[in-house]
């Protein structure tokens, strides 16, 4: 007599037990960590920042949905990774960035940055930065037009450039800014002030986010706190931000020591521009970064050095975006050069290798 099992049993192979946060849990936590930063951006820049965040996120979600439908695959919206791309993208754009351009950026981020490679897990670059790099090239004026933080009327009206009609030249917000803001605002960010006019912004202002800049890059302190939350939940590789910040501080200190009049102090390098947001939330994109210990450190140092190089010697005041994209592009190479040693294998030194060849 054959005894039949009364239930339908699973026969998948070992291990039979699993424990890990799911992909969507990890991604959701990254979203949670980005919420305070987004809220602070809205508090700083008002309605325009809110609209910007909503538009990029919606654009990313819609693009991902569209591509999944077209390629007849199951919807991947529930994994929350497109939300992260949308939020990160908005946080790196100027607060008064025209919304239609933001929508284009979102589309490019997902279409060219992600789904074209096969979706989550296969993108070689950080999708949000792909979108941003595209609009940086396509709309050079709009992406360098800044509005000051804490304009009194920011919650009742949009920055005029926000509502620019598609394919029309954005209205310059200068007049509106002058009507609303404190006198003499030049629209320059701390990085631009330093680079082109050698004017230093105070460290406290940089930490607290009292400056103008992209929608979500200004408060170094808040970004660090949100990053710590993720690092403690083991959902962010702390070695990447630590490596980037340390290497860029050391590298910029070198120049500061040579010529303190021309180059900013290392602390300024760390706290200004997109450094914090980039190092903590962009460079740590799991998919596009190496994951072996040596690989992670090499990747972080490469990004730190490149950021400082671009900032000090490039035409633009900010360099973190291109540095991270270059780091992403280099990470397969870094991975293959930094293969870890399996347990019980001899350390592979040059000497050993030669011995092997001789034998």
């Amino acid at each position: 007599m054959k005894k039949r099992l009364n239930a339908r049993v699973e026969i998948r192979t070992s291990p039979h037990i699993h424990y890990a946060p799911s992909v969507s849990q990890i991604m959701r936590n990254v979203v949670y960590a980005l919420v305070p930063i987004s809220l602070f951006g809205i508090y700083q820049f008002g309605l325009s920042a809110l609209a910007l965040i909503v538009v990029t996120t919606a654009s990313c979600l819609a693009t991902e949905h569209l591509f999944m439908r077209v390629s007849d695959r199951a919807s991947s919206l529930h994994d929350f990774s497109a939300v992260i791309t949308g939020l990160l993208l908005a946080l790196t754009l100027p607060p008064g960035f025209p919304l239609w351009m933001a929508a284009v950026a979102g589309f490019i981020a997902i279409a060219l940055g992600k789904v074209i490679f096969g979706g989550l897990g296969y993108n070689i670059l950080n999708p949000a930065l792909v979108g941003r790099a595209f609009v940086q090239a396509a709309f050079p004026v709009a992406i360098t037009t800044w509005t000051p933080a804490f304009i009194p009327g920011r919650f009742s009206e949009f920055v005029p450039s926000t509502l620019t009609l598609p394919f029309l030249k954005p209205i310059s917000p200068a007049e509106w800014i002058n009507a609303n803001a404190i006198d003499g605002f030049t629209g320059a960010t701390p990085l631009a002030l330093q680079k082109f006019e050698q004017i230093q912004t105070s460290t406290i202002d940089l930490l607290m986010g009292m400056t103008s800049g992209s929608a979500g890059e200004s408060s170094a302190l808040l970004i660090m706190a949100c990053g710590l939350y993720l690092a403690f939940r083991k959902m962010l590789d702390w070695r990447i931000p630590v490596g980037i910040l340390l290497s860029s501080a050391l590298f910029s200190a070198l120049f500061y020591l040579i010529n303190p009049d021309l180059y900013p102090p290392p602390l300024f390098t760390l706290l200004s521009g997109g450094m914090m947001l980039g190092a903590i939330f962009m460079a740590t994109d799991m998919v596009a970064s190496p994951l072996t210990p040596l690989g992670v450190w090499s990747y972080a140092i490469l990004i730190g050095v490149l950021t400082v190089t671009i900032r000090f010697f490039g035409g633009l005041p900010e360099g973190i975006m291109y540095a991270i994209l270059l780091g992403n592009a280099a990470s397969p190479l870094i991975a293959s050069l930094t293969q870890p040693r399996a347990y019980g294998k001899e350390r592979r030194s040059l000497f050993n290798r030669r011995q092997k060849e001789e034998s």
């Binding site: 049993v9 998948r12 192979t13 070992s14 424990y19 799991m286 994951l291 399996a342 019980g344």
Partner: protein, 444 residues
Amino acid sequence: MNATVLTFPKGGIHPPDYKSLTAEMVIEPMPTPTSLELILGQHIGVPCSPVVAKKDKVAEGALVGEVTKGMGVPLHAPVAGTVSNLTESAHPIQVSSPSVILRVNKKEEPKSYQSSDWSGLSPDELREKIHLAGIVGIGGAGFPAHVKLTPPPGSKIDTLVLNGAECEPYLTADHRQMIEHPDQVIEGARIILSILGITECLVGIENNKPDAIAAMSSEAEKQTSAEARIEIKTLEVKYPQGAEKQLIQSVTGRRVASQGLPADHGVIVQNVSTARAIFEAVALDKPYYEKVVTISGKGIARPANLLVKVGTLVKDIVTHLGGTTEELAKVVLGGPMMGFAVSTLDIPITKTTSSILFLTRDEIDTDLFSNCIRCGRCVEACPMGLQPNEIGVYVEASQGENTTKFGTMECFECGCCAYVCPSKRPLVQFIRMAKSQLKRRAAG
């Protein structure tokens, strides 16, 4: 007792251990069922050839199968009975395998064994006794014990490591034997020491088994002499603490080379239950035909540590323990990390079955897997320093043959990588596929 808690350096995971289901349960001999199915290939190596024919009457402990050529051990009748058939039985890995079906003669009294002095025997005589008793390593692939106790010429063995880690969740069979029969385990260790001609024995036990550590320590103290210095080492609770290379590094600090053998580093490892079986073979002249098996999980009415005859069908064990519960979703022979899922209860236990788990849906994971997000958790969890993520992606792209550089052949399939994977990727399965592709290529 040594107060320092030892562990291995790389990777590892901390799954919930679920051992409380059976940890307090005294080993319970299961009444012999009406028939047994003795699979002729019980373990790694050469399967036995039957030495009995249909309708033969056999006594308890009589030879049923033997190996004349190659690496193997004989197979014995666990009870007196009649050979009712030579046929095939279900097998957890090979689907089906040749076997001898034994109809149990319930009228026969169980045999009793008397202890005898073994101290006058030579290493070769002791080894022969172990061989003839049919002992294989318990819990793993079932490597014949007498072969393991014959170190390759030229290797200088100085330490015996006894594995009492029992790091797989749910399992308590070794734990109970260390509590209930520490004297036999330690005496088994002394027999092994005398075979190897060494004096040093280290027993590694995870510190979630303080009662076993206490029992074994006091027994070790009692039996320690100039010829046998036996020391209990407390290990951190971390899976896979009981894996051979990890255990060796934890208790001796030695690092076994990639593709190397413990013997190259002066170490021989045996399981505590194997040591006990060796005691029974040498001191009692009892062949290895029954073993302690943990029956656990929320899918069985009554979890237990059962002493069962080799060849007992899982369905008879289920009946003895009051049946399965309605939530049963998976039946696993072996531990939850490395065991084999089976689709039938008509399957006999073998010399290497350490447990049978009846798992419910909330104990297992039935999600479908998704893309690798390169989070690196598997790389961090791998005790061998490999890159399971890369192997998985390569296998999906039909590139399993090109994964040697990620350590495919170093993998011993502990399952840490798949356990921690957020995308629920079947990484161990991918690695097995890569291994078979590599082997096929090597074979031409």
